[in-house]
Amino acid sequence: MHSVSAAPALLVAVAFSLPLIYLKVRSVKFFHGVSLVTTVSVFLLTLHVQHYIISRETPIVYRMGGWPPPLGIVYEVDALSALLATYTALVIVFIVAYSYWYLGEDPGTPYYYSLLLGAEAGLLGIYYTGDVFNLFVMLEVLGITCYGLVAYYRSSREAVEASFKYAFFGAIAGLLYFVAAVTTYASFGNLTMGFVAAHTRPLLRHSYQYFYQFIDVFTWGNITGAVAVIVALSLWTFTFKAGVFPNHFWLPDAHPAAPTPISAVLSGLVVNAGAYASIRFLYTIFGVYDPLSQFYHLSPYFSVVLSFIGAASAVFAPIMMLIQRDVKRLIAYSTIMHLGLVFTGFSLGTALGVKASLYHILTHAAGKALLFMSAGVAVEASKTRRITDLKAVGRLNPLVGASVAISCFSLVGLPPLGGFFSKFALYQAFIEAGRFELTAVLLISSGLALLGYFKIIQPILFGFPPSDLNTSKLRELSLWTSLLPLLLLLIVLNPITVEVLLNEAAESAVLAGKYISQAVESYISYIREVQLSPGG
């Protein structure tokens, strides 16, 4: 199962070689080609992993360097992480195609792609890793590449300032997560997610007695006190990465300042890493929503805290959307709103809630990437980001017009599109959990957001077509190949196609039994082969 480990490593190896090639090859097209080939092959690798997981129905444990879990690092991939990783790899392929249109002959292209491939490696690593500390390293890989990409327009005041703010608070967030990881090791005595999860579930002992006699040696400190520190610090970091309410301050500056394809990556994909890591920590590792876990009694508090931060960002962000003058900034605020909805979804603690959250992550990623990319066409054509000065590109190129309209409708949640189904799933989950105040939040935020999105649709579709526009650039093939598939994806993302995947993913998040047993089994089978009493 080398696809798991090779996908991020391949990206990194290509990123390593790009500056070296740049010394000899000065043709910018070459770098576009290499990046496209790399991302497509990485997508195929992740697809292979996805296929394998769905057919086997158990998580894969890939032992890095062949070492069994607590000694070495494992990549543990279950349906949840495989789904997100595959989806990320898919969207990045289109973003690379769009970058070809967007960057053109920009001489900074090798650096740009080096950083972009690094960011993809970071995302895939975050989804695949089964080790608490490795997650820190991958978060930092993702972080540093994103800071660099935000500062790509180095002569723009706001880009550099936004990048500094993002990087500075990102560094603090990284340090706090480092403390959380170290505390995990200090109290649990190991860093493997599956092992830590096993320790938090004493009730599993009756059913898996055989496992527990092997892993009991890996405990050390008082885990109750430690978990408070770990969860507080790591949740701070993850909400920072996801850009939800108390830690959203960097997002409206950083996302618009980046080049448009990077805005799509940041808003559509990078924020998901925070949501994913929160789900992984709260559900799988510490099991605050798992009745078998010793922290189950904390679930009401977590429910309140998470739904509060989610609801606060879902209500606050669309209000901010209404007063924005900058189109990319408006879209960035809508990201905060959608991530807020995702957080409310998994704050419920039910399988339906997690499923709705994941569904919303998928539809939001496609919709947001498409909206940024198509609105970016208008921004490029009009040479300004002021909404009122945007030119009616939609009337010259029907694809762009359709993309803007459809992505906005999907993000609002209009019926035949993916966004409708994900919001409906969220609605169902809230009703099922009896949280009617959250349904009110959902409806209010959608209503407010509709007004906000209409501010974008209006000038791009219904403005007067300007005469001085260079239309040939609007008809390039790479624009079509990047926008059209995402457009189709938004239409295809309906319950019929993704129900199975989402169910599997949600189930694997909520029921951590298989995740734990795979990790522990991997240690036991190895140690038994060596015929050695551990520590001898």
């Binding site: 390593f16 360097g65 650096y111 060596v530």
Partner: protein
């Protein structure tokens, strides 16, 4: 007012963390004993009797860094690499050739630094090449060699890099060569296993219970610990030229830099 609010919240947080760590014992008993996993690492770091469980290096930290938890270090190198790429992206388009000659510090400092550099290189290589035997390793050696790049920029001037023939593109090339060497060692097991149809893992060093692939641990009775020495040497190359790049960029005079910043149109 805001200052006192911040102060109060920080004091409160620190107090809570202090309480949790000492009275609740969240960090485990401090200073008494080590964890079981630590003993497992220590007992197996150099254990020729169990080849499936050992890294064959008496240096436990290096064996964890490059073998047991090698993937962490690989991506740590990526972070360092990406930081420099991001810095180079900020400085893209700058040419290092029109740096004018500076006067530097006094003769005494210059001559002493000139004598120091060869000794320092010897020490750094020794730290890198004994990384698997004594404390040290690739990054440590690269950081020890960084003193050369700093002193060149400070004691002589930014122009000294040009005189020495270390221009930006050469530094980038050498650093990428080191990084690609790391990537080569990382991918070798997988490639060989794919060619021969046997089982092997990414970043594998020695035989495992389900894989027969192994790098040599000894050359002529000299312990080289399989991949560790190659990783250390390659990392040494990559890191030391990484620092060269950083200080070459930092030592550029502001007039030179301002020539190209702000010329391109804003987006």
């Amino acid at each position: 007012m805001r200052k006192y609010l911040v102060l109060a919240s920080i004091v409160l947080t620190t107090a809570v963390v202090a309480y949790v760590t000492t009275y609740l014992g969240a960090l485990g008993p401090l200073g008494l004993d080590t964890r079981y996993l630590a003993k497992l690492f220590l007992a197996n770091t150099y254990n020729p009797a169990h080849r499936e469980l050992t890294a064959m290096s008496p240096e436990a930290v290096t064996s964890i860094v490059w073998d047991f938890r090698g993937i962490d270090t690989l991506y740590e190198t990526v972070v360092f690499y990406m930081a420099i790429i991001a810095a180079l992206a900020i400085y893209r388009g700058v040419s290092y050739s029109n740096v004018r000659r500076g006067s530097g510090l006094s003769l005494i400092v210059k001559v002493v630094t000139k004598l120091l550099i060869p000794i320092n290189i010897a020490v750094a290589v020794s730290i890198a090449a004994h990384g698997h035997l004594t404390p040290g390793g690739g990054f440590q050696a690269g950081a020890a060699l960084a003193v050369v790049s700093v002193l060149l920029a400070v004691v002589y001037s930014a122009h000294s890099f040009v005189e020495l023939g270390v221009n930006l593109s050469r530094a980038v090339a050498l650093r990428s060569a080191g990084l690609l060497a790391i990537a080569l060692v990382v991918f070798t097991p997988i490639v060989i296993s794919a060619l021969t149809g046997t089982q092997a893992y990414l970043m594998q060093n020695y035989v495992k219970v389900d894989s027969a692939f192994s790098f040599p641990a000894h050359v002529q009775s000299q312990l080289i610990s399989g991949t560790l020495i190659w990783f250390n040497l390659a990392e040494f190359l990559a890191v030391s030229f990484g620092f060269f790049i950083i200080f070459m960029l930092l030592s550029l005079r502001e007039e030179v830099v301002r020539e190209w910043v702000g010329k391109e149109d804003e987006h």
